[in-house]
């Protein structure tokens, strides 16, 4: 009888001693616990850098497969998992799962049936957030869901928007203090999007910043013409960053609508294709920089803002590094938004320079964009896209998944009349179909016809330091480690490790499907692992026991 009484007491006592699983302070200092991966990008600075050093350039060639996770839903996996104290959390389609990070065995699964019709493409989701003992999932259909990280039981489920109006959630939320920050995408539906903060405990909205105007009083209103602002789009596709020193959170925004035809919307179309710097407590806009004013090429600024402090022309400077879909690598002062440099990192033909304020000067051959498919470089896929870049404090280099020597006919057609929850694009005309010969399929392509690369850039000069060339472009993000390893992958299924200092190949494996997520690294019991998703599964590698 005594034992019968004692057991629950002991259990209760141990449970009571459990520290909060993930505190704000832990996320703030994520670099102090490299065994964990606490946010989408591994830390607030968006660097996707692991401080782990057990894997080295000397032993990485011995990596072997440890386990594979196949979600119930066989959709393309783009999610970055989280790892906390030996438990790995990830999400796919309608299911969140917690698994043993060493063996891959599931502890629990949480199911919420997302209506398949709520996502026009494949059912992809970028990941989760965690705070305390609670996981947060933004589902495509506009629900913000809190889940107990120990049990997998739902805590609350709030409807943020009606997906039938043309919204969807795609991002992994960002936890800042006691808030969850994120925004919706519109997937060419022309709905005006936003970045908002929600209370971690209740899901109640704290603030909202619209990335396209919703009223004439909005300062961005004057950058649109007529009532075009009502279809402003400017979606949020990728998780932002946070700078605790300035208390600013930075988010990249997507294209305006209709995306390929700017005729109905003369003006710069703020805050599309921009980075917005918001006060994390109030959502007040502190500054913005628009990478592509009046975009007609779908050059979303859907990249993770990468923050670091570097020596800039002899003085320390707090900067933001950004390789944009429009083909330029930018350095901005993240405290003021001042444009410091924009330098093409791939072949491009749309920009002939920048004015003193950093505004791009568009080529007269492409602007105003003629109807019917001018040849534009980079092509619509961009010089890069949503795939996470990386910055290594060890090498001082910025790494980006690039597609070079690549262009194509950009279509422009009559967008027609906007209809709720239908695509409002203005694309698909002559250029979209491409007159003349079709481009070579990837497997037969010469380098002059376009190639993908992991590209290392020097933030101080904008110069390329090295390339790891691939035939195809890649949808893989990039991870670097403190031992100067770089992990990335390709569309053909290759997953590989490079020497981050010079790009030489150290190890590779073919996973049989597109690598379309950012790799992460974590450790359990001092053993380092690397996790990456390829096609519909997640693979975890480590050194032999």
């Amino acid at each position: 009888m005594k034992l019968g009484v004692l057991r629950p007491l002991v259990f209760f006592s141990l449970a009571g001693l459990l520290p909060a699983q993930v505190t704000y302070d832990q996320i703030l200092h994520a670099n102090r616990e490299p065994q964990n991966w606490l946010t989408y990008s591994g830390g607030y600075a968006g660097q996707r850098y692991s401080g782990l050093t057990a894997l080295t350039r000397a032993n990485v060639g011995n990596l072997e497969l440890k386990w594979v996770y196949h979600p119930k839903y066989p959709d393309k996996m783009e999610a970055t998992p989280l790892v906390v104290d030996g438990v790995l959390y990830t999400v796919q389609n309608s299911e969140v799962v917690a698994v043993d990070a060493v063996s891959g065995r599931a502890f629990w699964t949480f199911h919420y049936a997302v209506p398949p019709e709520s996502n026009a493409y494949v059912m992809v989701v970028k990941g989760l957030a965690i705070s305390g003992h609670t996981l947060y999932w933004a589902s495509y259909d506009g629900h913000l869901i809190a889940i107990d990280s120990k049990t997998g039981k739902g805590i609350w489920n709030k409807t943020i928007f009606d997906w039938r109006k043309g919204y969807q959630f795609n991002v992994a939320p960002l936890v800042v203090k006691d808030m969850l920050i994120l925004g919706p995408a519109t997937n060419e539906r022309g709905m005006n999007c936003w970045v908002a903060a929600y209370d971690l405990k209740t899901g109640q909205e704290r603030w909202r910043f619209y990335t396209a105007p919703v009223a004439p009083e909005d300062p961005a209103f004057k950058t649109w013409t007529g009532d075009s602002w009502k279809r402003g789009g400017s979606p949020i596709w990728v998780t932002g960053s946070y700078d605790p020193e300035t208390n600013l959170t930075f988010w990249g925004t997507g294209n305006p609508n209709p995306g390929w035809n700017g005729d109905p919307r003369p003006g710069d179309n703020l805050y599309s294709d921009s980075v917005v710097a918001l006060d994390a407590d109030t959502g007040t806009l502190k500054w913005h920089y628009q990478f592509t004013p009046h975009d007609e090429f779908d050059w979303d600024s859907v990249q993770v803002p990468v923050l670091t402090d570097i020596d800039w022309q002899g003085k320390p400077r707090k900067v933001m590094l950004w390789a944009n879909r429009n083909g330029f690598f930018y350095v901005l002062d993240r405290t003021t938004g001042q444009f410091l440099r924009g330098k093409a990192f791939v072949k491009q033909n749309w920009n002939v320079g920048f004015d003193e304020g950093g505004r791009p000067i568009k080529s007269s051959a492409l602007a105003p964009k003629p109807m019917g498919g001018p040849h534009v470089e980079p092509g619509t896929q961009g010089g890069t896209n949503w795939y996470s870049p990386a910055f290594s404090p060890s090498t001082g280099l910025f790494y980006v998944s690039a597609w070079d020597n690549y262009g194509g006919p950009s279509g422009k057609s009559d967008p027609g009349t906007w209809v709720e929850n239908e695509r409002y694009m203005g694309a698909g005309g002559v250029g979209g179909r491409g007159g003349g010969r079709r481009p070579a399929a990837i497997g037969y392509r010469t380098e002059a016809e376009g190639y993908g690369a992991v590209r290392a850039l020097d933030p101080k000069t904008g110069e390329k330091k090295w390339d790891y060339k691939m035939v195809d472009y890649t949808e893989s993000g990039i991870l670097t480690t403190a031992s100067d390893l770089l992990f990335s992958g390709g569309k053909e299924g290759n997953f590989f490790a490079l020497d981050a200092r010079n790009g030489s190949l150290l190890w590779s494996v073919n996973l049989g499907g597109t690598v379309a997520s950012g790799p992460i690294s974590y450790a359990v019991n001092n053993r380092q692992y690397v996790a990456v998703c390829a096609d519909t599964a997640m693979y975890v590698f480590g050194l032999p026991e």
């Binding site: 010969r437 070579a440 497997g443 037969y444 010469t446 053909e492 290759n494 590989f496």
Partner: protein, 159 residues
């Protein structure tokens, strides 16, 4: 006359009148007697090293077929390109490229063997987009006959 045909390379569009002007039976005989199948496959006959012509009538117009015969280099479809691989042991392998990426090159060689080479074993490789099929010496009538035959190749349901 077509004895030296290497890899015929054939393409798309629409000009049925040209095809109708030739004699398909004569064209078939010309193909059979001229060594075309030394590189091309039609049905269950011929080599796999060049483009398969079994359904070429569905894929390319008569005008494109004519162009491919009289000026083979005018347009080589990307999937019909060759690759010349020089290995570190000094040997060279040529074949129709099937794929290539950062790690490897795959091809079907001139013996119809599927080959895959790790880039670590390769000294260099070149993708060949021209000179894959020599210009045949054909009369206009012979060209029309061959085009008529090729245009008639519509393929069959896959088993």
């Amino acid at each position: 006359m077509l004895q030296s045909l290497g890899v015929c390379v054939l393409a798309l569009a629409a000009a049925p009148l040209f095809a109708q002007s030739g004699d398909a039976a004569k064209g078939k005989a010309l193909i059979a007697s001229s060594g075309c199948t030394g590189c091309h496959r039609i049905g269950d006959q011929g080599s796999r090293t060049g483009p398969d012509l079994s359904e070429i009538g569905d894929k390319r117009t008569a005008e494109k077929l004519k162009t491919s015969l009289v000026d083979p280099d005018e347009e080589v479809l990307p999937e019909n390109r060759y690759v010349s691989v020089v290995l570190k042991d000094g040997s060279t392998v040529r074949g129709r490229i099937l794929n290539h990426d950062a790690m490897s090159v795959q091809l079907i060689d001139t013996k119809q063997d599927l080959r895959s080479f790790q880039t670590s074993a390769i000294k260099g490789y070149t993708i060949l987009t021209k000179g894959l099929m020599p210009k045949p010496q054909l009369s206009d009538e012979q060209v029309a006959d061959i085009v008529a035959y090729l245009s008639s190749l519509k393929g069959t349901e896959a088993p």
